[in-house]
């Protein structure tokens, strides 16, 4: 029974070693979990944070990198195919000019307002994405102005009973405007500072309530003055542009709006994308 002796020796020694190792790990784990102490802020030297400079070589210019940031419009809410104007712009660019375009990231978040976007721009991940991009598509402000798509439905129900339609009072539309447009200005300037070279495209607002009698004129006014104040900032910079959508939707709401009556549908996004591409060319 020489083999049994051999088996016993190996198994016993290895298993005792394994047990000791695991026991050590166990004790260490308990210690670490029960009294976690933050190590002195150690930066990891392995990764270099500023790789973005290398990516900006002239050769990379051929390949357009597109980053999208903003609200539900940027995300593509309402588009059944899920493409939004972001992916549609990419495919339009490829079709149109043969330039290869890639979508870096779509950072659109449903319901984002200018107040919500500002702190996002201070996050490292966002800054990294924006820093990498050649074209930055921005859509923001719709929620500031109309306080979310939720109110859209309330606004509609308010029309049938005008007395209770306090949620979307036409006067309120203009009330938040000054604050929001200063924030928009701050956002545009911040993005410019994060990436001084990228082409920044701001997607202008449209009035989704143009077919509701008492919201039509104040809505149009609010949107127009919003776009106007956006232009004031945008005009100051050379590589920044506003893509107007107001006229697109003005008389085509049933054609271009999705069923929630706030976001564009696939066709609407397609129209926006085509306009964006025209501006980039």
């Amino acid at each position: 029974m020489n083999s049994s002796k051999w088996i016993w020796r190996v198994v016993s020694i290895v298993s005792v070693l394994a047990t000791v190792l695991l026991l050590a790990g166990f004790v260490y784990a308990i210690k670490d979990i029960q009294n976690p102490k933050a190590a002195a802020e150690q930066s990891s030297p392995s990764a270099t944070p500023q790789e973005s400079t290398g990516a900006k070589s002239p050769e990379a210019k051929k390949d357009l990198k597109i980053a999208v940031i903003g609200d539900s419009l940027a995300k593509g809410t309402g588009d059944n195919s899920g493409m939004g104007f972001a992916r549609r712009t990419v495919s339009e660019l490829a079709k149109d000019s043969g330039r290869k375009a890639t979508l870096l990231n779509n950072l659109g978040i449903n319901g984002l307002t200018t107040t919500g976007l500002l702190p996002k721009l201070e996050e490292k991940g966002t800054q990294y994405v924006l820093g990498q991009a050649d074209v930055i598509l921005l859509s923001i402000g719709g929620n500031d102005l109309f306080q979310g798509a939720d109110l859209a439905t309330k606004g509609i129900s308010g029309t049938s009973n005008p007395g209770t339609g306090t949620e979307l009072d036409p006067k309120d539309l203009l009330k938040g405007l000054p604050k929001a447009s200063t924030q928009l200005k701050a956002i545009l300037e911040r993005i410019r500072a994060i990436n001084p070279e990228a082409w920044i495209v701001y997607v202008g607002l449209y009035n989704p309530f143009g077919d509701i009698e008492e919201l039509k004129i104040p809505g149009n006014q609010a949107v127009a003055s919003w776009n106007q104040s956006a232009l004031q900032t945008i005009n100051k910079y050379s590589s920044m542009s506003l893509v107007p959508t107001f006229d697109l939707f003005q008389h085509n709401l049933d054609k271009y709006l999705s069923s929630d009556h706030f976001h564009p549908n696939g066709d609407g996004y397609q129209q926006i994308a085509e306009r964006i591409v025209q501006g980039i060319r």
Binding site: S4, I7, W8, V11, S12, V14, S15, V16, A18, T19, L21, L22, L23, A24, G25, F26, V27, Y28, A29, I30, D32, I33, Q34, P36, K37, A38, A39, Q42, S43, S44, S46, A47, P49, K75, T102, L104, N105, N106, L107, G108, I109, N110, G111, E123, K124, G125, T126, Y128, V129, Q132
Partner: protein
């Protein structure tokens, strides 16, 4: 104590000669390549989408999770998880560390964290469920007990052998996973920093105690926690093996308990006394990675206590039953 060692030796040789341990190694050698391949494919795909830039990938992950936070269709508990997840990802991004850098060590870490509730216990049961009931099925138990050795010593030798093999299984699972996945993802990554110490209060993460640990240390801690879970499972399976006559039945009993546990962890957050069940407390590695516990009020010492109580009770029952019971065929 002197005549215990030969008994343990005897049991060890039995397990090796019966090829139980080889079966376990074989299972690992067959399954790990499959998982590795699956992981490789999904890694390739995401790399394609994000052009090999992990920061873009992580940022997109954050955005996607933030988007789902706004949705009314997402249950509140999931939102809590995702909020915590977003904060952790943000932390990794802020410190310029790729949380899922593809290498053999990271794969091992993730794989072991996922196998703690079912896969590793299953392997343990392959030995534990058979260790007493197997002797009954084959009738060799009579031979064992007719020897001039006290019954509790016979059982103790079996238990010690089982614990020895539990350690062996955990370590070999680590080694095999690392060797196999390393062949695909590369053998580097031991020094890569992993963050631990996320303290969760409600849906917020306290980052004050977060610290970076080199991945090898993390693996060591993880191994220790998995080892503790394995011993608990071994003790419980041991008890079932004493109580039940056939090996098949004893495996079924344990499997049923474990599967019930995974289902419960997914849906029992409303039933808070479920936290006293051992199956819900198996995911000890979650405390390391900062994943919120399935039920409010669970923490590491709680889970360890629950598991210990179950294990000790199981062992007491097995010894009482084994020493008292008549061995009929």
């Amino acid at each position: 104590m002197i005549n215990l060692l030969p008994l343990i030796k005897n049991e060890t040789i039995k397990i090796i000669k019966k090829k139980r341990f080889y079966v376990i190694l074989l299972i690992l050698l067959v399954l790990v390549p499959i998982f590795t391949y699956a992981q490789m494919r999904s890694a390739e795909r995401t790399r394609e989408k994000f052009h090999g830039d992990w920061r873009l990938e992580v940022q997109q992950q954050i955005t996607d999770n933030e988007n789902s936070l706004g949705s009314d269709r997402v249950p509140d508990e999931w939102k809590k998880y995702r909020k915590i997840f977003v904060q952790q990802l943000q932390y990794y991004l802020d410190h310029d560390v790729n949380p899922n850098e593809p290498n053999g060590v990271t794969f091992t870490r993730e794989f072991m964290a996922n196998s703690i509730t079912l896969f590793i216990p299953l392997l343990i049961m392959a030995i534990a469920s058979d260790i007493v009931s197997g002797e009954r099925t084959s009738g060799t138990i009579k031979m064992l007990l007719t020897r001039p050795v006290k019954r509790w010593k016979v059982l103790l030798s079996k238990l010690v052998t089982l614990f020895m093999f539990s350690s062996l299984i955990v370590v070999s699972a680590f080694i095999i996973t690392y060797v196999v996945s390393g062949a695909v993802f590369g053998y580097k990554g031991f020094d890569m920093p992993v963050f631990t110490g996320f303290q969760i209060t409600g849906s917020d993460v306290d980052l004050s105690a977060v610290h970076a640990v080199p991945q090898w240390k993390y693996l060591l801690m993880q191994g220790g926690l998995i080892w503790f879970v394995s011993l608990t499972i071994a003790s419980l399976a041991f008890m079932v093996s004493v109580l039940v006559r056939s090996t098949a039945a004893s495996i079924v009993v344990m499997m049923a308990a474990l599967i019930a546990g995974t289902i419960l962890t997914n849906m029992a957050s409303a039933w808070s006394s479920a936290k006293y069940l051992f199956m819900v407390n198996l995911e000890l590695t979650d405390y390391l990675s900062g994943t919120p516990a399935p039920i409010e009020g669970m923490n590491l010492s709680f889970s360890l206590a629950v598991l210990s109580v179950w294990a000790v009770a199981a062992l007491i029952i097995s010894f009482l039953v084994f020493t008292k019971r008549d061995i009929l065929n």
